[in-house]
């Protein structure tokens, strides 16, 4: 059943993509792996960056949430600074996910997070601490990483 719902959401996102977001299958041979290209929002230190966000849909979708991870390195309190680039926030948590949620909403949520990090739910404590106490340095480093990793 999940296939049809995923196909439908894909069609919607391709035909009318949300702002700053472009979606495609990583490979047409797998409907469950999506590549999302996300532009760093204006006014955020990620501006002018283009981030690859990987979306992995579970076979139980929509009963289980998609897994969202950054394929481009990013300096952000809510994204793990490891080879996984994982995030865990609000609607993406298994216990808070609702099958009625849509992938478009997930992606908009992820992009909004670039504008407004949530340091209280940080996965990178040190970045969170810096974000709260030394915003200037945070902005500087986030910009530097964006320039280094997120501009082709």
């Amino acid at each position: 059943m999940s296939q049809k719902r995923i196909a439908k959401e894909l069609a919607e996102l391709v035909e009318s993509p949300p702002e700053g977001i472009k979606v495609e299958l990583a490979d047409e041979s797998d409907l469950y792996l999506w590549n999302v290209y996300m532009e760093g929002p204006e006014g955020s230190p990620f501006q002018n960056g283009k981030f690859l966000v990987k979306l992995k849909l579970p076979t139980e979708y929509p009963f289980k949430p998609p897994a969202v991870s950054f394929g481009t390195k990013i300096y952000h309190p809510n994204v793990t600074n490891d080879d996984k680039g994982s995030m865990c926030l609000g609607m993406l948590r298994p216990d808070e996910w609702k099958p009625s949620s849509k992938i478009a909403a997930v992606l908009q949520f992820a992009r909004q997070l670039l504008v407004e990090p949530m340091p209280d739910d940080a996965v990178e404590g040190r970045i969170a601490e810096q974000y709260k106490n030394d915003r200037a340095r945070y902005d500087e480093l986030a910009k530097e990483w964006t320039r280094k990793y997120a501009t082709a």
């Binding site: 196909a7 069609a11 041979s29 579970p58 390195k73 490891d82 940080a122 990178e124 040190r126 709260k132």
Partner: protein, 1034 residues
Amino acid sequence: MTDTKMQVDTPQETVEMIKHGEIDESLYSRQLYVLGHEAMKRMGSSNVLIVGLKGLGVEIAKNIALAGVKSLTLYDPAPVAIADLSSQFFLQPEDVGKPRAEVTAPRVAELNSYVPVTVHEGNNIAEDLEQLKRYQAIVLTLTPLKEQLAIAEFCHKNGIYVTVTDTFGLFGYLFNDFGKNFTVGDATGEEAVSGIVAGIDDTGLVSALDETRHGLEDGDFVTFSEIKGMEGLNDSAPRKITVKGPYTFSIGDVSGLGTYQSGGLFTQVKMPKFVDFQSLGEQLKTPEFVVSDFAKFDRPQQLHIGVQALHKFAENHDGQLPRPHNESDAQDVLKIANDLASSGEDKVELDEKVMKELSYQARGDLNPLAALFGGIAAQEVLKAVSGKFNPINQWLYFDALEALPSSTARSEESCKPLGSRYDGQIAVFGKEFQDKIANVTQFLVGAGAIGCETLKNWAMMGLGTGPKGKIFITDMDQIEKSNLNRQFLFRTKDVGRLKSECATTAIQSMNPELQGKIVALRDRVGPDTEHVFDEKFWQGLDGVTNALDNVDARTYVDRRCVFFRKPLLESGTLGTKGNTQVVLPHITESYSSSQDPPEKTFPMCTLKSFPNRIEHTIAWARDLFQTYFVGPPEAVNMYLSQPNYIEKTLKQAGNEKQTLEHLRDFLVTDKPLTFDDCIVWARTQFENQYNNAIQQLLYNFPKDSTTSSGQPFWSGPKRAPTPLKFDSTNPTHLGFIIAGANLHAFNYGIKSPNADKEYYRKVVDNIIVPEFTPKSGVKIQADENEADPNAQPSGSSFDDGNELQQLVESLPSPKSLAGFRLSPVEFEKDDDTNHHIDFITAASNLRADNYDIPQADRHRTKFIAGKIIPAIATATALVTGLVALELYKIIDGKDDIEQYKNGFVNLALPFLGFSEPIASPKGTYMGKNGEVTVDKIWDRFEVADIPLKDFIQHFADLGLEISMVSSGVSLLYASFYPPSKLKDRLPMPMSKLVEHISKKPIPDHQKNVIFEVTAEDQNEEDVEIPYVMVTLQK
């Protein structure tokens, strides 16, 4: 006995019991997670007597022997008759004439070497009641009512638990008398719930944090801890609660306790419950029923009288029950029943048809009923002797009259005994139906617990024994010791043998007519084995019975059954719970139509920094196990064996540094030469995980820090951690070192010296561990000294290009290490000497100490980390009995959905529930010639292997505008694709298109391909239409 004692198994106590051989944990492992140590210990001191050894008696004996009691005694001096073989799986044709109990006892004894099985001597058990005092629990089957009364009365007075049970054809009943003031220690067996308190108001209303369901029920008891304000609630006596909503409950009066400020946890406490049972005599007059099927809510009263009428009939006829399908006997029974009904207090209006069926079938002996009641009755005995779970209070009646065949006629002639082993079944269904059963071809997927019981049922039913009959069994597993406690076709000597083959041999000796009728296979059923289970194989089946233990395999078999349109019988158990489902082509929905709740997973950030339950620390410890002993050794081996491994790693978009660091650590920095080096490594890891990482976290989020909204940061689900100071006299600390050192040594093939704890302590106390200083801010550290003890545990450092190069350069070349390989650890939960569960237990408990979460012992940690599915033979036997009843209906060819039943059972509560299967969903679309109705599951479109453009046109002709086409997980066509992309695809035949996109050839044995299509109909609405099957030209 206090209530908390009942559920808490202290690790020391467990260790002692295992040491003294009181509980063989490797044998009873899965059942221990159902019953607990305490209940099993009580069972281990109980002597049980089973009276009557036909099919039902032997089922009960089997289940109790497997479960484990102090001793099991059997009583049945009657000679074996050939008809007994209809359900008594431990009897052979050559036993005819010998006393039943005597021939059965040694065969039951083989099931469990810890349970001695003997025969109770004597010719009439009711005549010498005094000797019953040897037993704690007695089960009566095949016992005349007068004797039941005498024995049950004696038991009632002498504190002996008694259960009476019998089956008559498709009817069965059970009665319990566990005496006055019987104590139920744990009524449900459900885990005690706990949660975080968000608030308590001055009326005593407690709210759970973050709208988390508290999971409590009215009348439950809870205790509190860590509450600020209202401190009086902490560690006070358990408070009884009233549920006010899913997130709130009331604890009543809280006056004088002050005002709630913050924090707090609630924990459910299981309180013992007391039940007064009445004697059989009283209960015959004023029965208390447990309803088994709400569709037949007035049936218990009817059967209560009917069964008494049968006993009365037998009394009048020299102990003989009414003859099969004999009209005059049935009239007799009806008359007796009517007399009983009119003499009772409530005048019951009898259903003549039911009474007559009871009489017709009284001599019937069906194995499915024996399996069902054998499971129920054995669980009742275990409840009696252990005090675990709520007993049946006091009568249970059941019937499965829907299973009577309608495709074949029944008459006195067709139901009369033929001197065959199936006479018990023929008495109910007639000879003609017996022939139908014999000529069925069934496929059993799995030969585990459900598989063994199912095969036994089939052997007794004579399924597949006819000229056109056949049974296919497949299972890729070999027999393990922990299987023997439920999978009763296997013995200790069979450990290591293939399940399907061993089970085949076992049931062929149970019913020799199965010789040459069984094909045992060893292939996992799945996409990879479609050349084995090919089209021809599936076409040849009449039906499929699943005996699987995982959702993926179930879903796969379900899909195949839908595709080949074969009926499927599905079942599963979880502890004392069981469910059964019937899937019928064109009639019901399929297994995959309903969704089991997905496996519970935890948010990564909870695991990483904010655990608040032991489940979180166990999941974290399981990850740590992987990070230490599995991942890096695998990476090292790849580095050493794949020439371009580094290049590939550097190309990874993520954090390649971590992989490189692991290689460096495992090949250079941390590479041990001696076992002592492994101890040093383990000690360093302790410091990193339980001291340094915690210090760093507290540096970033000090205990008094606040969130952006001004709330304390460390509150609610975020528990403030405390760093641990290593102490070699603390058993958990040392346990981490011992398990960690041994596993690290295993990676390097360094032999463990099998040293005692003193040795580890001595080594570890001499290690100098550098002081840690938390880091401020974040630097991109290019020049950091690699060996810096302040370095973060890997995974959160920040890198730079030239550092990566330095890392690569620090690695020894694969050539210089020719032949050198590490041994990654393969997680195995059931080997108690391999340190795996020891490591996870210690690692989890240390983290629990960091966060002040109560520790879990090794047993519980193993349960959670190993994702062990608790299991007990009683529930398994029961579900297979229910499944076999549905199989009768399928063989009969019933197409009326109302005759079928899906079952939901929980033996602990106890609860039996049935529902009619859900009909397959229908849909409509507006076609060119009006509205078309389709069965969304069983219908399909069939087209030849035509080009994509013709495919699209084909549907357009039907009035369906295709927007997307997929096959498997490949997306083949979407209407939004640009023409340039479609140009090449449109002329491709569908099969080529699939191969082109999936980049995989269609295997030779595959004769068709399935496509999923989304489309708009003539009303321009998205419609859900069935799948499309494209037949390949081969």
